[in-house]
């Protein structure tokens, strides 16, 4: 176990390193010049060159990357070109909002998806089953920004049940979580259905029924726990998929998380922020995968950590 963990940690570090160099290279190749953004429009060419030298942006690629890496190992993500604040500070101040959104999304996904899957499995073959499965497909196929705008329009603008974007209370969290969660809900619904269907056919379920236990009790007490386990293992991987959506959803809802931060940074070629947020997101994905892999053997003893 320790050996496995050790190996995975080394792998993760290498992956993050790889991502850092690819991102750095892409940003280096951008035709846009960050120094011009910083220097503004009234700057003379001399000022521009001076700023370029100050930031070390006149150095060759490997020197720049080496310097970045060295700082990274000290936990220094650099300073934003535009705001001059430390990137780590900026990310830390906005990370809670994004994490909150992800937690909200996962809660929504699981609540909605698992319920749908459970009901569909129990009523297998019926019209309810079919409708739920179509609904799950729709959830998976819906573009997040459309879902977000739709929910905003219906529930916030028209019905005023929720605030129109923004951050602060529980009510602000509902619509964005739903938006991010609907796609996952569709996915979990289908997985749950299959899992439940498998479990319901198992012998021990028939035995429980034969012993005279009530349907509901068997369902909730025996079938559900066993069906859920493999799905819970997926939550870790979910993080990677959720990370993909935050830029868009935070933009639609004005949610002050790292997605919004990196989107603003991209407009202004604020490279340190883009690097920082990419690495933090990649870290989250890697950790999520690791979590999923670690949980897996506890759920299915047939799986061995390789």
């Amino acid at each position: 176990m320790i050996a496995y963990l050790g190996r995975r940690i080394v792998q993760s570090v290498l992956i993050l390193l790889g991502i850092s160099i690819i991102t750095f290279a892409l940003l280096y190749l951008l035709p846009a010049d960050p120094v011009r953004q910083i220097a503004g429009r009234s700057a003379t060419p001399a000022t521009v060159e001076s700023i370029r030298r100050q930031l070390g942006l006149d150095q060759p690629f490997l020197v720049q990357y080496g310097r970045y890496l060295a700082n990274l190992l000290h936990g220094d993500l650099g300073r934003s070109y535009i705001q001059r604040s430390e990137v780590s500070q900026l990310i830390i101040s906005r990370l809670p909002a994004t994490l909150l959104l992800m937690v909200g999304a996962i809660v929504c996904e699981l609540l909605i998806g698992l319920t749908m899957g459970l009901v569909a499995a129990v009523r297998r073959g019926s019209r309810t089953d079919n409708s739920l499965m179509v609904a799950s497909f729709v959830g998976v196929s819906a573009p997040q920004f459309v879902v977000g705008l739709l929910l905003l329009y219906v529930f916030a603008v028209r019905l005023s049940w929720f605030p129109i974007g923004g951050y602060g209370t529980f009510r602000h969290l509902v619509l964005p979580s739903l938006t991010v969660g609907i796609m996952g809900a569709g996915w979990y619904a289908r997985m749950m259905r299959s899992s439940m269907v498998d479990v319901l056919h198992q012998d021990y379920i028939r035995t429980a029924r034969a012993k005279g236990l009530g349907r509901l009790k068997v369902l909730l007490g025996h079938a559900l726990p066993n069906a859920i386990l493999p799905i819970v293992a997926m939550v870790g991987i979910d993080i990677g998929i959720l990370m993909g959506g935050i830029v868009v959803v935070e933009s639609v809802f004005g949610w002050p998380g790292i997605g919004q931060l990196v989107w603003q940074a991209i407009q202004r070629v604020d490279i340190p922020i883009i690097m920082g947020v990419t690495l933090v997101s990649a870290l989250a994905i890697v950790l999520g995968n690791l979590l999923a892999d670690l949980i897996a053997p506890f759920i299915d003893p047939r799986i061995k950590l390789r």
Binding site: G18, F137, P143, L150, W187, G244, G245, I285, D293, I303
Partner: protein, 307 residues
């Protein structure tokens, strides 16, 4: 965005036990049309394709025509009415026309981007699975690396590096989406390579290329078909998202995503400008998902993994 319908293959630990499928049996199409949902998907795809092809004949306006009567005197768009069946957009262009021509964009990118992703993914996955060894290992490590990359951020950075055009958008999407395919192809190829009849061919002295083309690739065809179909759905969604962020298809070429992007400031006053293209995106992605899922059931039931 990764297609979430096959999550387990992302993790090496959980992909144990997936068997490669048998060769595709005849009568796939017949079996396909027996499934209601698949038929729904096919119908939607057919409507989209026909709409795209016959767009010039179906509408009275051009997609780029900014009509004087298309806006109120203070520059506001018109709601659906007799002249503009789905209303007009913020430049006074007919929305229905733009949506029909937008279908061309979505289909073009769907096919090109997904096709490219498929080719790249298959090349990498099959090579890794067949050659194994350190080349295989390196390729798969690289795939793992790209999987950990937040997909949308990668797409945004890539889009910023190149000068935008329809082909570049397709390329960017392909460069982000090849990863899942590679993984699947790798797993399939590895299992196939381990099967006895391959070993038998080797002892007979068959060349590597022969084994590859005659024995392995045909077994991969179902997977390629399934992934090809499902992948279009992911591609359509990614293109819509990139265009929505303003970095996808360039104006004035209509794309369902950039129609929403251009008109979203008015979505409270003119919600149809967001919802009609939004429904189009949803419908097309849904259609390919339905068809792809049905194909997977028919061609390759074991591939559902832990589902």
């Amino acid at each position: 965005m990764t297609n979430p319908t096959v999550p387990d293959l992302a993790s090496p630990a959980l992909s144990a036990g997936s068997q490669p499928p048998a060769k595709p049996r005849p009568g796939v199409l017949r079996r396909l049309v027996k499934r209601r949902l698949a038929v729904l998907g096919l119908v939607i795809i057919a409507i989209t394709v026909l709409g795209a092809i016959f767009a010039p004949w179906l509408t009275a306006f051009g997609p780029d025509e900014q009509l004087f009567d298309g806006l109120t005197l203070s520059g506001e768009p018109l709601p659906p009415n007799v002249t503009y069946w789905l209303g007009s957009d913020l430049l006074g262009r007919d929305l229905l026309t733009r949506i029909l021509y937008g279908a061309r964009t979505s289909l073009f990118i769907g096919v090109v981007a997904n096709g490219t992703a498929l080719v790249i993914g298959t090349l990498i996955g099959v090579t890794a699975g067949y050659l194994r060894g350190w080349i295989g290992g390196a390729l798969m490590r690289f795939t793992d690396l790209m999987m950990a990359f937040p997909a949308l951020l990668l797409a945004i950075c890539l889009a910023a590096v190149f000068e935008p055009s329809l082909w570049i958008v397709a390329l960017v999407i392909a460069l982000v989406n090849w990863v899942q395919t590679a993984r699947v192809m790798f797993t399939q190829t590895s299992s196939l390579v381990e099967r006895e009849f391959i070993a038998a061919e080797r002892t007979i002295g068959a060349s590597g290329a022969r084994i590859l083309f005659k024995h392995i690739l045909p077994h991969l065809v179902p997977t390629i078909i399934v992934w090809g179909t499902l992948g279009i759905s992911t591609t359509v969604l990614l293109e819509a998202t990139l265009s929505y962020l303003g970095i996808g298809v360039q104006p004035p070429t209509p794309s369902w995503g950039n129609i929403i992007f251009e008109n979203q400031t008015y979505f409270q006053a003119a919600p149809w400008l967001v919802f009609f293209p939004g429904i189009a995106i949803l419908a097309l992605a849904l259609a390919f998902n339905l068809v792809g899922d049905a194909l997977r059931d028919i061609l390759d039931p074991t591939q559902r993994g832990r589902e």
